[in-house]
C-alpha cells in the first residue's frame, strides 16, 4: 500500500535557510545541505525547497546549493519559488530536482503548466496554490498570499490539473501559522475536485493534526510543514511512529 508522505519545507534566501531553525547538534542551522541531510536521516519522505531570493546572483547561488543537496540526499526533491518559464524548470531539474512547483508563475501564464508537463511529464509539475476564504468562497491568492486574484480556487485547481499539473499543494492562508490543525473543509473540497495527489499545507501544530488529517481525509496523500519541524515542535520519528500506531501507512 502506498504510504502517506511527510514533507518538511525549507525557505531559502541567497543560499541560506530563513525563518530560522532551532536544532541541537547541527553546526550550521542555516545550511540547506546540512538540514536536508538531517531531515532525510530523520525519515522525511520528500523535501521542498522554496527559493525566495529576489536577485539573479542569489538565484545562481540557489542553483549551486541545490546541486549540493541533490548530491547528498537520495529522496525526492521539489523546488519552487520564482518559477516563471520552462527555462526555470530546466535550470532546477538539471541540478537534480525531481519536481518543480509553480504558483504565481502559473497565475501569470497558465500555459506554463501545459508546456512544462509536455516537456517533463505531469509527475514533474506541482501546482502550489495559496487559498483563503473571501465572502464565502475559496479564493486564489498570489504573491505569497498578499494579493487576491479574484479567482475561485477549486475551478483554478481543476483547470491546472487538466492542463497537466501532476500534484497539488494546497496551502490554506486561513490556517497557516495558527497551529490548530490543517484546513479540512478546504482540503476536502480539493480532494473531491481532482484525482491527482493532494498535499496539505498550513496549520499543523502537533502530531495529532497529522493523524486527524489522514484519518478524516483518506484521499490526502501528504502533509507538508515548515516551522514545527524546524523548531522541533514535532519530531519526524515520533510523528511516523504515532501514524503507524494509528494504522496509517507510513515509511519507517
Amino acid at each position: 500500500m502506498i504510504t502517506k508522505r511527510i514533507i518538511p519545507c525549507l525557505d531559502v534566501k541567497n543560499g541560506r535557510v530563513v525563518k530560522g531553525v532551532n536544532f541541537l547538534g547541527l553546526h550550521d542551522v542555516s545550511s540547506p545541505v546540512e538540514l536536508a541531510r538531517y531531515y532525510s536521516e530523520q525519515g522525511a519522505d520528500e523535501l521542498v525547497f522554496y527559493d525566495i531570493t529576489a536577485s539573479a546572483e542569489g538565484r545562481a547561488l540557489f542553483t549551486d546549493i541545490l546541486t549540493e543537496v541533490a548530491r547528498t540526499i537520495f529522496i525526492p526533491l521539489t523546488v519552487g519559488g520564482g518559477i516563471n518559464t520552462v527555462e526555470d524548470f530546466d535550470r532546477v531539474l538539471k541540478c537534480g530536482a525531481d519536481k518543480v512547483s509553480v504558483n504565481s508563475g502559473a497565475i501569470r501564464n497558465p500555459a506554463l503548466i501545459t508546456e512544462a508537463a509536455k516537456r517533463y511529464g505531469d509527475q514533474c509539475v506541482v501546482l502550489s496554490v495559496d487559498v483563503k476564504r473571501v465572502g464565502g468562497e475559496f479564493r486564489v491568492f498570489a504573491k505569497g498570499g498578499r494579493e487576491d486574484t479574484g479567482m475561485e480556487a477549486i475551478s483554478w485547481i481543476r483547470r491546472c490539473v487538466n492542463a497537466g499539473a501532476g500534484e497539488v499543494v494546497v496551502n490554506s492562508i486561513d490556517t497557516d501559522g495558527v497551529k490548530k490543525g490543517f484546513d479540512l473543509p478546504m482540503l476536502q473540497a480539493v480532494c473531491d475536485a481532482v484525482s491527482v495527489p493532494v498535499i496539505a499545507s498550513g496549520g499543523a501544530g502537533r502530531i495529532a493534526d497529522f493523524t486527524t488529517l489522514f484519518k478524516m481525509l483518506p484521499k490526502v496523500d501528504a502533509g507538508l510543514a515548515a516551522s514545527i519541524f524546524h523548531f522541533h515542535e514535532v519530531d519526524l520519528h515520533d510523528l511516523k511512529r504515532e501514524l503507524a500506531e494509528q494504522g496509517i501507512p507510513v515509511r519507517r
Binding site: M1, I2, T3, R71, G96, D122, Q123, V196, D221, A222
Partner: protein
C-alpha cells in the same frame, strides 16, 4: 566501473550521485567502447516507451546493451529502463522492446481499481519473492519510491518483488544477469542505495 547509458532521455545526475555515494565509479556515456569495457551497465529512462526505444535503437546503443547483456555482463534497468528490457510495450500503440526479459508492458489502469490515482506515485513497500542477490541487504516491507503508469505484465518467471497498489504490481525483475527495478533506487533513501550497492557487487 558502471556505465550509465546516456541516450538523451532524462536527468542522470541523481543516478550518478547515488552511485558515487556507494563508492562506485560510474560514467555517463554513449560510447560503445566505454560500455563494452565497463563491468556493469545501468539503463535509465523516463518518459514514453516509444520515444525511448527509438532513441536507443537509432543511437546504436540498443545493440551494444543487448550484446553485452547476452554476454553475461550485469545490467540494471531503472523505471522506463526496466520496461525497455521486456519484449513488447502497449504504451500508446505497440512497440518492440529489447527482449531480454520475457513479458510485456501494460497500463496499470488495466489491473487496478478505478478509484486509485494514476500514476502510482510515492513510497510503497516491497514484497520480496525468493532471495535475489540484488536485494541481499533488504528486508520484506522496505519502502522504495515509485513513479509510473505502466507495469511489467506476464513476466511471472522473472518477478523478484512486487508492490501492492490495488493489485500486486511488478516492482522488480531478474533473469540471470539482467535486472530491472520499476522504482527509483536513486530516490529511495538508504534502501535504494543498498540496492545499488548490491548491484555493484554482483
Amino acid at each position: 566501473m558502471v556505465a550509465i547509458i546516456d541516450y538523451g532521455v532524462g536527468n542522470l545526475f541523481s543516478l550518478q550521485s547515488s552511485l558515487a555515494a556507494v563508492g562506485a565509479e560510474a560514467v555517463v556515456t554513449s560510447d560503445p567502447r566505454v560500455i563494452r569495457e565497463a563491468d556493469r551497465i545501468l539503463l535509465p529512462g523516463v518518459g514514453a516507451f516509444g520515444d525511448a526505444i527509438t532513441k536507443l535503437r537509432k543511437s546504436g546503443l540498443a545493440e551494444v546493451v543487448t550484446e553485452q547483456a547476452r554476454a553475461g555482463k550485469p545490467l540494471l534497468g531503472i523505471c522506463l529502463g526496466m520496461q525497455l528490457l521486456f519484449e513488447k510495450s502497449y504504451e500508446y500503440g505497440e512497440h518492440e522492446g529489447l527482449g531480454l526479459i520475457h513479458g510485456e508492458v501494460r497500463p496499470i489502469a488495466d489491473v487496478i481499481p478505478g478509484d486509485l490515482k494514476i500514476p502510482h506515485i510515492g513510497w510503497n513497500a516491497l514484497h520480496l519473492r525468493g532471495a535475489s542477490p540484488l536485494f541481499r541487504y533488504l528486508k520484506e516491507g522496505d519502502c522504495v519510491y515509485f513513479v509510473h503508469s505502466f507495469y511489467g505484465a506476464n513476466c511471472d518467471d522473472s518477478v523478484i518483488a512486487t508492490a501492492e497498489y490495488g493489485a500486486e504490481l511488478t516492482a522488480a525483475v531478474a533473469c540471470k544477469n539482467v535486472y530491472g527495478c520499476q522504482f527509483h533506487p536513486e530516490k529511495s533513501g538508504a534502501v535504494g542505495l543498498n540496492i545499488l550497492r548490491a548491484f555493484c557487487a554482483l
